[in-house]
């Protein structure tokens, strides 16, 4: 089959590789209909998460059709149209029972790396390096899906492929942030980052009853999407002072919940950007946390800051004093998609959650290296590059 492989830092190529096989009795093989780029892939491609091997297949946000089922699979049959959660979870360990699916004890067959990095190993993820289990990614014609009864979800007939695709990762990640960030009715929620994840976090904040939702970015087309498709207010951090603007918007209090959906390659204006970038390049800090810093300062006293953006290791100049003295709750998580995908699909079916606008560039998998370049450079208003592996 054809697959998009990482071949070195900032190098991708489409190659012919072996077809996947059923390896466990709870596996299915999915013929991938659509797969999309995600901001998390950029951290891998750029070598910020240095546990990729040349030849590894990328991709974790996808949907498709079941073409083979393992002997212990109960819920799926050949021909089912499914969307698959980007994280791999067993559904039975203690963490899964707490619905903390991305912390599953049984999804990562290679826990040593992350135990050394973080103390304990989170679960596995498709196409997300050997640190997250070494599972082959979904930017391929076929992909093996472990624990399929738990991680693959039938797509309702009324939901089209291009909408369902984003239930796999971006929407479910947004839901993770708003839910675990405990957005309450009446809250004002600020979201840093207007990519797929930030926009979906804004949508999730509305779904939880927020009264005001503000999305922050510098890319005008993305801010327009957040206004048009997610009904959020927007702020451009290159044009205005975000802290001052948020205070004014919130009667001087600050947002109740601040969701950061930017991640370790955050961009900022001013001298901190140079400082962070130099330190990151010298590996004195692995991650650039400028949006988190801003969120911590902007958040109201006693509020919550949630990091949805991916960070790999250590950051510098972190305003711990503000966290402590303002009594903030600081929380983060990889997405617990198994918990939210059913609700997300229901909302898609009811027409109350829109996602297909994120697919700004749709192309054959053969063009995926070009698609990733556009996605990385945010060229031509690219929000997500979507690949069709069978075109």
């Amino acid at each position: 089959m054809r697959a998009l492989c990482w071949t070195g830092v900032n190098k991708l190529s489409v190659e012919t590789v072996d077809d996947p096989q059923l390896l466990n009795s709870e596996d299915v093989i999915v013929k991938v209909t659509l797969g999309t780029s995600c901001g998390s892939d950029l951290h891998l491609i750029g070598g910020y998460i240095p546990f990729m091997r040349a030849g590894d297949i990328l991709g974790h946000e996808f949907m498709g059709e079941v073409v083979e089922v393992g002997s212990a699979v109960r819920k799926h049959q050949v021909g089912d149209r499914v969307v698959v959660c980007s994280f791999i979870a067993c559904g039975r360990c203690w963490y899964c029972r707490q619905q903390l699916f991305s912390l599953c004890d049984n999804g990562n067959p290679n826990p040593a790396i992350t135990e050394a990095l973080w103390g304990f190993a989170p679960g596995g993820c498709f196409g997300y390096s050997h640190a997250m289990g070494g599972h082959a990614g979904s930017h391929a014609q076929y992909v093996r899906v472990p624990y399929a009864d738990h991680g693959a979800f039938p797509v309702p007939d009324g939901v089209d492929d291009m909408t369902a695709l984003f239930a796999s990762d971006s929407a479910a990640t947004g839901w993770t942030g708003a839910d675990l960030g405990e957005v309450r009715p009446g809250d004002t929620v600020a979201v840093w980052g207007a990519g797929g994840v930030g926009q979906m976090a804004a949508a999730a904040a509305w779904a939880r009853g927020a009264e005001r939702v503000v999305v922050i970015d510098r890319l005008v087309n993305r801010l327009q999407q957040a206004e048009q498709h997610v009904s959020a207010e927007t702020l451009n951090y290159e044009e205005t002072d975000i802290g001052g603007e948020l205070r004014e918007l919130t009667g001087g209090r600050g947002p109740d919940v601040c969701i950061e959906a930017v991640g370790m390659e955050a961009h900022t204006t001013g001298p901190m950007q140079v400082y962070d970038q130099v330190k990151q390049q010298l590996r004195l800090q692995t991650d650039r946390p400028s949006a988190v810093r801003e969120a911590v300062h902007a958040c109201r006293k006693g509020g919550t800051v949630f990091t949805l953006g991916v960070f790999a290791a250590v950051v510098d100049k972190f305003p711990l004093g503000a966290v402590m003295n303002k009594g903030l709750t600081l929380r983060g998580a990889q997405m617990h998609g198994h918990r939210y995908i059913p609700e997300i699909l229901e909302r898609m079916e009811a027409g109350t959650l829109k996602t297909s606008h994120l697919a700004t560039h749709v192309m054959s998998l053969e063009d995926a290296p070009k698609g990733y370049q556009m996605f990385k450079d945010k060229e031509d208003g690219c929000v997500r590059a979507v690949f069709r592996p069978h075109d």
């Binding site: 096989q21 091997r53 590894d56």
Partner: protein
């Protein structure tokens, strides 16, 4: 093989669990003649004790290590399931050379892997496999070789 199950723990609950915890910690840090004992390796399985070790029977990967290991089984507090702790009876087994560790053959690595596989067998009935996974061309680089090594011992290393 029979278990050194801490029956007391089952009967007396949390207070006894705390006592056993103290014993574990003590023996694992105490000097044992010239050799310092390694810590117990412990996993928690999300099942009640009668399902995790019915009649004291251990899952296959641990049973295979036979009398070389001693095993303690006890309920985890807060309904978190069952804790299974193991270590080699003979402290000499714990101090294998670097070469066997690199090959993933050291006794401690085997024990760690046996515990992890046991947990998975109990919780989901199978050990999750990941290879053979399809992949593109792998060039032979030192970095690649290192990745491969780390991946091969992935279940055997770590902080367990």
């Amino acid at each position: 093989m029979r278990l050194g199950t801490s029956v007391v723990v089952g009967a007396l609950g949390v207070g006894a669990a705390a006592l056993v915890r103290r014993l574990w910690t003590r023996t694992s840090t105490q000097a044992d003649g010239a050799t310092t004992r390694e810590r117990w390796l412990v996993v928690t399985v999300a099942l009640p004790q009668e399902e995790a070790a019915p009649d004291g029977r251990l899952p296959e990967p641990l049973a295979e290590l036979g009398d070389r290991i001693e095993v303690e089984v006890r309920p985890a507090p807060g309904d978190k399931g069952t804790e299974i702790a193991a270590r080699y009876r003979d402290p000499k087994e714990e101090h294998a050379g670097l070469a066997s560790r690199v090959e993933g053959e050291s006794p401690r690595q085997q024990l760690r892997s046996a515990l992890r596989r046991s947990k998975q067998l109990l919780e989901v009935g199978e050990v999750l496999r990941v290879s053979p996974a399809p992949h593109g061309e792998r060039s032979a680089t030192p970095g690649g070789a290192l990745q491969e090594l780390v991946t091969e011992v992935g279940r055997k290393e770590g902080r367990l």
